[in-house]
């Protein structure tokens, strides 16, 4: 998650461009060993067990290691060993940006220091973040996301990043901005959440991204914004919002949602307090609108 948040910070400050960040993340990812690979190499798990855990991750908001321990495939101690192995093979985002020539070391140091100051992080917190693989990171960034967005939206965006990673792209980058002007989109998929909290959520994008999004999520050969494409992007939003509702329910807040709607060439007038989360995917860019 650190990569997503720090990447977002660098983008918003104009220190790097989205394509540079995507490039660095791809490079970073290529250098990072996956826990499943480590587990198989160590003889702790079979490939079938790894596949089973990957499938479980699609609907459980949990990490690979956590689920593998729960299923009894590995012990806590084996998980620690695996994480240590992963850390050795892991390249930090900052290092990746430097290696790929998108930032100098001096620029990176300055950005990291400004980031730390801006978000009021203690040195201890920042050291945790620097290791980039601690369970504490998510909580720290959740806290800072809350400062920026408020708890509700922060939880929503954190889950969105996870679901984008699970279902449609390994390296999504999000830019969070205030909704400042009307938004017109070729394709607009929306869903309302209601109950103790009311939210309007929508995915807005152009035709090309809509089709690619649909094909990725459905894992089907979709080349036109036809009925199947509309069902696919709609189902992603429905699935994401459904998991959000389950998380809220587990925290004692029961919410409901309306069926999703797909519209073409819609303009959404600036509704006042709202956010636009621009999601940079490896295959294109779309906006998630939160009102």
């Amino acid at each position: 998650m650190f990569s997503q948040y720090f990447g977002n910070y660098l983008l918003n400050r104009g220190l790097i461009r989205p394509d540079q960040l995507t490039d660095a993340l791809e490079y970073q990812r290529s250098m990072r060993l996956k826990l499943g690979v480590i587990a198989v190499n160590a003889g702790y798990m079979t490939p079938a067990q790894v596949e089973e855990i990957h499938n479980m991750q699609k609907k459980a908001d949990k990490r690979f290691g956590e689920l593998a321990v729960e299923k009894g495939y590995i012990t806590e101690q084996q998980l620690e060993e695996m994480l240590a192995t992963q850390k050795q093979g892991h390249l930090m985002l900052g290092q990746a940006l430097v290696d790929r020539g998108h930032l100098t070391i001096e620029q990176l140091q300055e950005a990291l220091e400004n980031y730390r100051k801006e978000y009021g992080m203690s040195s201890r917190q920042f050291n945790v973040v620097g290791k980039d693989d601690s369970l504490q990171i998510e909580q720290i960034f959740r806290d800072h996301g809350e400062a920026l967005l408020g708890k509700l939206y922060s939880d929503y965006v954190t889950l969105l990043i996870k679901n984008l990673i699970r279902f449609v792209d390994d390296n999504p980058i999000v830019e969070i901005n205030q909704f400042r002007s009307d938004i017109t989109a070729q394709w607009f998929v929306s869903q309302e959440i209601y109950g103790k909290i009311n939210m309007f959520t929508a995915i807005a994008c152009d035709r090309d991204v809509f089709v690619k999004f649909a094909a990725k999520f459905a894992q089907e050969d979709i080349t036109e914004p036809d009925e199947l494409a509309q069902a696919s992007v709609g189902e992603f939003l429905n699935l994401h919002n459904g998991i959000f509702l389950v998380n809220m329910s587990n925290n004692g807040v029961e919410l409901e949602m309306n069926p999703q709607q797909v519209e073409q060439n819609r303009t959404l007038a600036n509704p006042g307090k709202a956010y636009v989360v621009t999601c940079h995917m490896t295959w294109g860019r779309f906006d998630m609108i939160l009102v």
Binding site: S232, G242, I243, E254, M257, P259
Partner: protein
């Protein structure tokens, strides 16, 4: 349609979900498959076809899946209805089970879950 094949009713407003479910069911048997995309049409098709098994979404246009489930149970009390929803909240789980659902599957489902249900019921 052949009368000796079991009939399965898939109720979901998403064409994608219905397609994936049909593709999956084909792997596990020879079924008459009927599709509904709204809560109201689910009930109408349920009465018309008297299916042996129903996969029922919760968030649907017209009428939600919990209401549809209650109406189905009133028509045929021993029908096996599997709720299939992305919003497996505590209140939805309780409402579905109270209304007589046979099982509740949180989306996204796995083929093995569908296979397990098919093997148990048929």
């Amino acid at each position: 349609m052949s009368s000796n094949r079991p009939t399965i009713l898939i109720c979901d407003d998403s064409l994608l979900v219905r397609k994936k479910m049909k593709d999956c069911l084909k792997e596990y048997g020879d079924f008459n498959i009927v599709e509904a995309s709204t809560g109201q049409s689910s009930i109408e098709l349920f009465k018309q076809y008297e299916p042996d098994l129903v996969f029922l979404d919760i968030v649907m246009p017209d009428k939600n899946g919990i209401e549809a489930l209650k109406e189905m149970m009133a028509v045929k009390k021993d029908v096996k209805v599997i709720m299939l929803s992305s919003s497996g909240t505590k209140s939805h789980l309780k409402a579905a089970m109270d209304a007589g659902a046979h099982d509740f599957i949180q989306k996204p489902w796995e083929k093995s879950q569908i296979e397990h249900i098919i093997r148990n019921i048929f």
